[in-house]
Subunit: 140 residues, 2 copies
C-alpha cells in the first residue's frame, strides 16, 4: 500500500519535482514519512488530498492559502469557523470567475458568429481592419 514518489507523480499528474516542492512548501495534509533509506512513502489518502489540492490550485487558490487551510486542519478542533470562512471565500471567488468567463464567452460567441456570417456571405473583406478606420471594431 506504500507508494513511491514516482508512482504518486504518475497517478497525480504532478511531477516528482513538484511533489518535493509542495512538501517543502508545507502543502501536504500529513507529513510525508520516509523509509529508513530516506525515500519518501505516500499512501492513497495523499493522492486524495493531492486531487483536491490540484483542484484548488487550478481554480486559483494560491499556495500560501492552501497552506493556511491545511495548517488550520492540522491544528485540530476549534478553528472550524475559520476553515469554513476560507472555503466560502474561495467559493465566492470561483463563482466570480465563472461569471466573468461566461461574460467573455458571450462576447466570443458574438465574434465567432459575426465571422461566420460574413465569411458565409463572402463579405469577409468588410470586416474590421485596423488600417481602415471606418470599419467598426465590434466585428474584428
Amino acid at each position: 500500500m506504500d507508494l513511491s514518489i514516482g508512482e504518486v507523480a504518475q497517478r497525480s499528474g504532478l511531477s516528482v519535482h513538484a511533489l518535493r516542492f509542495y512538501e517543502r512548501e508545507g502543502l501536504f495534509a500529513n507529513p510525508v514519512r520516509r523509509l529508513s533509506n530516506g525515500r519518501r512513502i505516500y499512501h492513497e489518502e495523499d493522492l486524495e488530498w493531492l486531487a483536491i489540492c490540484t483542484k484548488l490550485r487550478s481554480s486559483g487558490m494560491s499556495l500560501p492559502v492552501i497552506r493556511q487551510y491545511i495548517e488550520l486542519a492540522r491544528q485540530g478542533t476549534g478553528n472550524e469557523p475559520e476553515r469554513l470562512a476560507l472555503l466560502r471565500r474561495h467559493q465566492d471567488h470561483v463563482e466570480a470567475q465563472i461569471r466573468e468567463l461566461q461574460e467573455t464567452l458571450d462576447v466570443m460567441r458574438d465574434k465567432v458568429r459575426i465571422y461566420e456570417d460574413h465569411l458565409a456571405r463572402g463579405e469577409a473583406d468588410r470586416l474590421w481592419n485596423p488600417s481602415h478606420p471606418d470599419t467598426k471594431q465590434c466585428s474584428d
Copy 2:
C-alpha cells in the same frame, strides 16, 4: 478626443507601465501615435480594444496569442478563416475552464455544506483531522 496615457490607464484599469509594456509587445490593434513632443495619444477605439484585450487576457489568452490575432487583423483581408479558428480555439478553452471551475464548485459546495452541518450540530470535533487517521478526508 485625444487621450493621454494617464487617462487611458485610469479608464482601462491598466497601469501606465502596462500600457507601455503592451505597446512594446505589439498588442495594440493600431499603432500608438505620438504628439510632436513624443507623448502617446490614444483614442476611444483604443479603449474599446483594451477592454476586449483585457477580457481575452483574464480568460487565459496569452500575450503571444493576442499578438497573433491582432497581427492577422492588421494584415487585412484574406486570413479570416485563421482568425475564426483562433477565436474558436479560445472559445473551446474558455468553455473547458468553465466546466472545470463548475466541477470544483460542486466539490466546494459539498465541503461547505458538511462544515455547516457539523458546526450546527456541535460535532465539529469529529471532522477530519490529519493526525487522526480514522477520520475521513472527504470532510476535511
